[in-house]
Symmetry: C2
Amino acid sequence: MWCQSCREEYEERDAGTCKECYEEASETEEELKREIDDLKSKVAFLRLASPHDLVSTTDLVLHASSSTSPSSPSNPNSSLCTTPAVPAHRAVLISRSPVFKAMLENEMEESRSGIIKIYDVSYDVLRSFVHYLYTAEVLLDEHMACDLLILAEKYQVKHLKIFCEKFMTSKVNSENAVASYAFAHRHNAKQLLEASLSLIMDNMATLTEREEYKELVEKDPRLVVEIYEAYLIRQVNTAAKDLTLQP
Amino acid sequence: MWCQSCREEYEERDAGTCKECYEEASETEEELKREIDDLKSKVAFLRLASPHDLVSTTDLVLHASSSTSPSSPSNPNSSLCTTPAVPAHRAVLISRSPVFKAMLENEMEESRSGIIKIYDVSYDVLRSFVHYLYTAEVLLDEHMACDLLILAEKYQVKHLKIFCEKFMTSKVNSENAVASYAFAHRHNAKQLLEASLSLIMDNMATLTEREEYKELVEKDPRLVVEIYEAYLIRQVNTAAKDLTLQP
C-alpha cells in the first residue's frame, strides 16, 4: 500500500489509519492552524505599545530600589538606592495585577503620589517586568526568569509566572536541580518543583556531595527531609512493581 | 486492516496513511492544541479591563454624534445631537489606531481638550467600538458588523475590520448580495466583495428585478458595469473550459 501522507510504500503491519480518518485529521490540522493564525493576530492587536513609546500619556512611575525592603530586616546595612523611573499607566497595572489593582484603586500612598517603589529588584528586571505587562513579551535568560518569577508571584501576574516557570523547568539539570528545587519551594512553582525533585532522585548517589545540598541542610532541613521522603516513596513503588512483574 | 484512529476495519483500497505518519500527525495535533492553549491564555492576559471598570484612570472621552459630520453636506438639516460620553485612555487609542495616534500625539484640538467627537455613529456602536479596542471582543449582528466595519476603516483598526468583514461574508445570501456588494465596494472589503459578487453572478436571471439593483443603477452605475464585466469574464472562461472538455 501507498501512504497518502509521505507517499511511500508500506507493509500491512505498518498500517496507520483508513482514508476517512486521514482526511478528517488533515482537515482538523488545517482548522487548528487557522485558529492559531486568528489567535496570533488577536495577540498582535491586543499588545500595547511599550510604555516608553507612550510616555506622554503615562500617569505613574515605578522605581526599582536595589536594597531590601524596610520590612525585611535581613540586610540592615544596605542603603536605599533608587534607579531611573519606569513610566507606566495605572490602567495597565490595574488590568494585569490584582495587587496593583488593590494598591491603585484604594487611597494608598502609591495611588496618591503616583510613585510605586519596587524593592529588591534591578532596574533592568523592573523594566522587563513592566514591558511584559504591556506586550506579553520578554527575552529570558536564567537570571531574568528567576527574578521575574519572583516579581510575578509578588504582584500575582499569573501569566508571567507560568511563562518563567516553564522556561526554568526547561533549564533544570543535575547541576542546578537542588538550587531549583529550593527556589521552586520558596515560590510555589509546582512544575519546577516536580522536575527538579525528579532529577535529584535520579542522581541520589552524588546528592550528599553537592555544595548546595550541604547549604540546604543548614538553611532548610525540612526541604531535605521532603527529598528523602519522596525518594523513599519512589523506592517502595519500584519494589512493588518489581514484585508484580516477577513470574 | 484495522484503523488505529477509528478502530474500524478497512479494505486496502480505503487505506490512508502508514503508522509512522499517523503517529506524527497525532503529535502535530497535540502540539497545535498546546499552542492554541498558550495563545488563548496570552489573549486573556493581554485583554484590558473594560474602560468602564477603569473609569477613575481614563484621560479622555469620546462622544457619539448622531448627525452627519460638518464636512459632509449631504444632510444639512440634521442637528448635532450629542449622546453620553464613552470614557477611554489615550494610551489604548494610540496603541490600537494610527488615526487616533496621529490625533493624540500631535497638538490637535482633540488632544488638548481630551474630547473626541465621532460623527454618524450611535452611542451603542461607539461603546462597542471602544470596548473592542480594550478587549478584542464584541457581540455582532448584521447592523453592528456594518457600523463597526465603517468605524474600523475610518480609524484604521485593521483587526476589527477583518473581524466584521468575516462575519458579514458569512451572512451574504441571494437577498442581500447586491447591497453587500455595494457596501463592500464603498469600504474596500475585498473578501465580502468577492463573496457577494459570486452570489450575484449565480443569480443573474433575477438580478434586474431586484429593487437594490435598480437603486444601484441610479446611484452608482459603474458598480453595475463591473458586475456585468465580471459575469462576462466568467462566461468566456466557462465556454473555453467546455470547449477543452469536448471530445
